[in-house]
Amino acid sequence: MSLAGPASDIPDPANPLGRLWQAAVKDSVIAGLIAFALFSFLLGVRTVDAPFGLDLSARPWLLASAVAIVFAGRLALNLLYWWPREAAQQALLPRYGVAALLPLVVAVPANFEFSDQIAILIVVGFVVFEIGLVALNRVRGEQRRGQAPSPIAEKAAAALSRLGTLAAPALIGFGIVLPFLPMSDRYIMDVAIMVLTYIMLGWGLNVVVGLAGLLDLGYVAFYAMGAYSYALIATYFDWSFWMTLPVAGVLAAFWGIILGFPVLRLRGDYLAIVTLAFGEMVRIVLINWYSLTNGPDGISGIPRPTFFGLELTPTGDPSFHDFFGMEYEPIHRIIYLYYIIFLLALITNVVTMRLRQLPVGRAWEALREDEIACRSLGINTRNTKLTAFAIGAMFGGFAGSFFATRQGFISPESFTFIESAIILAIVVLGGMGSQIGVVIASVVLIGGFEVFRELAHFRMLVFGLCMVGIMVWRPRGLIASREPSIFLREKKLVSAAAVSEGRG
């Protein structure tokens, strides 16, 4: 967000404050003008319903306050952060700073609409964000100048990762008791199921992106494959959920291999583009192959999973509540679904963690680090990539099956590119290759989406802001350090700087 560096670094010795003030105002006016240019379209006009189509309504006050905030914030930055060098100046400056902040108070009249207030909040957020950035840069600069760079970030990462190993049993315990906690109502359980689904997808994609370093933008294709496999097999052949689940996983893995064969010759950006196209292709085939998939109308009446043959429906025969002599309650089914996805996610985690320590997992990581060196060591890179693709796809397929049985209805609309993007965001935010990072990122992202549902489209802005923040402060994700798969004496985490991201 830094528009330009501080205008001049050396104030005139004769009249330091006057010159400083002048330069600061000049710089802030430029920032204000840029803000005006940007915000006149973002905030200044709004499309409204008119009798004949859409019309534009101007919002000069909102625009004015946004520009004022930017101007004031920039001025405050100039006066408080960038230029105060001498104690005498510093003693005087806060007064100017407070004066500079005054327009901010004036500019936010309380009678704005709700969404306008949010818009203002976001602008303020950007300003605060920039101040934070500047402060951070300062700290970093001081660290560079100082004797030893403080390894706080490294230590924090190591602590988080240690916490991961300690917290794993605690998290699993929490997951098991969650449905019985007093606060767990239908809504909480639904969100929890959703978060767990994304955790599972994140762990699945982590194999492809985090371990093997293959950027897959079409992961949703395998999710769709699993969902449609289950929906079609269950509705056409009357197979139960538990019989179909492995079949759906195998089918998704099979398609992973089919896709992988031609595509894995490509690397980096090219691979990303082709996988993206594959994701879209699958969705379009699902829409257009009407005779099989029922096209955009989707498949409804997908059977629910049974509990050892007991149905969790009011009229089931035999039914769960009759067998255990309970009153029928819809929440039973939700809790059951919750445990299914909990179990599936756990299996995903255990299997991927174990695979990492086997030769195939080590080969994935080696492939991410240096493909040419892998070839010189006689590793069959194509097969290794294919296994990563297939295993990632398989877990995607499992998650898809679960999605189908939970919803009871699926249509191609559920499998758009944004799903791939969200799953990838979870993996990247969590830290590529980190299991616990995926959990944190899923809870924050998916849970956050739910919590901020009232903000409507502004939550995407907040989402973007969070992403920018993460990329600035922790560019390699929340948990970036890598845990070695084998060790001789002690397990030392490999810092993020050493680990390569993979180029395809």
């Binding site: 299997v351 174990r354 695979l355 086997l358 030769p359 195939v360 080590r362 080969a363 990581e365 080696a366 991410r368 680090e369 240096d370 040419i372 060196a373 892998c374 070839r375 010189s376 060591l377 006689g378 590793i379 069959n380 890179t381 296994t387 890598r482 070695p484 798969s485 084998i486 060790f487 001789l488 004496r489 002690e490 397990k491 030392k492 490999v494 810092s495 050493a498 680990v499 390569s500």
Partner: protein, 273 residues
């Protein structure tokens, strides 16, 4: 009859490599002996690394034949196979001019990756390893022992659990050689192993290469830029210039060859007969 003519592990005949109009290697033929350290030397751009890339399958040569003779008499025509098969089936290991370690993985992991194919076979398509087959655990233990053996040999056993990119440069060079040796090759190709090393590290490296020849009984083919380094350790030297072989023989022979002196020092045209 010289040792490399009597019992060659690698015979290269009429190797030619063209990149478009550029002839990087021009009708090159030489042999490398089974118990020899063979050096490929020449000025910058002479085509040394291109020869290496052809031998290890990273390039497909335009013309020529490269025959690898295994101890058991088995023949392997290198030009017919892709790089990973040359490493896996023919047993040709290589290092790179600009070190290519798996920087984000620990030193031990680097050596484990080198034993991938052996471990992969023991893991029974990974499923056996997933359910914890004892034979896989045994194989893994053996792989760790081999890695430890090499780490002790190159004296970085204390840093086994550090990321490879944290090692000092000289240690990285040695680790790359150890990694190649963990593959259990029959021919080890080293691309400028002494580049960037100080004299002490360079001496250590020479000792390591001698050990590989004498203790492990493995043929070494190395590229070296610097004549003085190579004279001390090689049994057989092949000199390239502009993709052509200009000299081939023992260090003493090559040292006194007027063509080599001309190529290295630059001599007026009429002085070279």
């Amino acid at each position: 009859m010289t040792s490399w003519e009597r019992d060659p592990i690698l015979t290269i005949e009429h190797l030619t490599m063209r990149f478009g109009g550029l002839v990087a290697i021009d009708d090159l033929s030489f042999s490398a002996g089974r118990n020899d350290i063979t050096a490929l030397i020449g000025p910058n751009g002479a085509g040394k690394t291109t020869v290496f890339n052809c031998i290890t399958g990273f390039y497909k040569p335009t013309e020529g034949r490269m025959t690898l003779r295994h101890d058991d008499g088995g023949l392997f025509y290198l030009e017919r196979h892709p790089d990973q098969e040359i490493a896996r089936r023919a047993g040709v290991a290589r290092t790179f001019q600009n070190i290519r370690l798996f920087g984000g993985m620990t030193v031990l992991e680097n050596l484990m990756v080198a034993q991938h194919n052996r471990l992969m076979a023991a893991s029974v398509f990974t499923f056996g390893a997933l359910i914890g087959l004892p034979s896989f655990q045994h194989a893994e233990q053996e792989a760790v022992e081999r890695a430890k053996h090499w780490l002790e040999r190159i004296r970085i056993i204390d840093r086994a659990d550090d990321p490879a990119s944290d090692l000092p440069y000289g240690a990285q060079r040695r680790l790359e050689i150890a990694r190649a040796m963990c593959m259990r090759p029959c021919l080890l190709c080293l691309d400028e192993p002494a580049a960037g090393l100080n004299p002490r590290e360079s001496d250590e490296l020479n000792q390591l290469i001698f050990d590989i020849r004498d203790d492990e009984k493995i043929a070494v083919l190395l590229i070296e830029h610097d004549m003085s380094v190579v004279m001390g350790i090689s049994d057989h030297i092949v000199v390239l210039d502009y993709g052509k072989k200009i000299s081939d023989g023992t260090p003493d022979f090559v040292r006194n060859d007027p063509h080599v002196i001309a190529a290295y020092l630059g001599v007026e045209d009429e002085e070279v007969a």
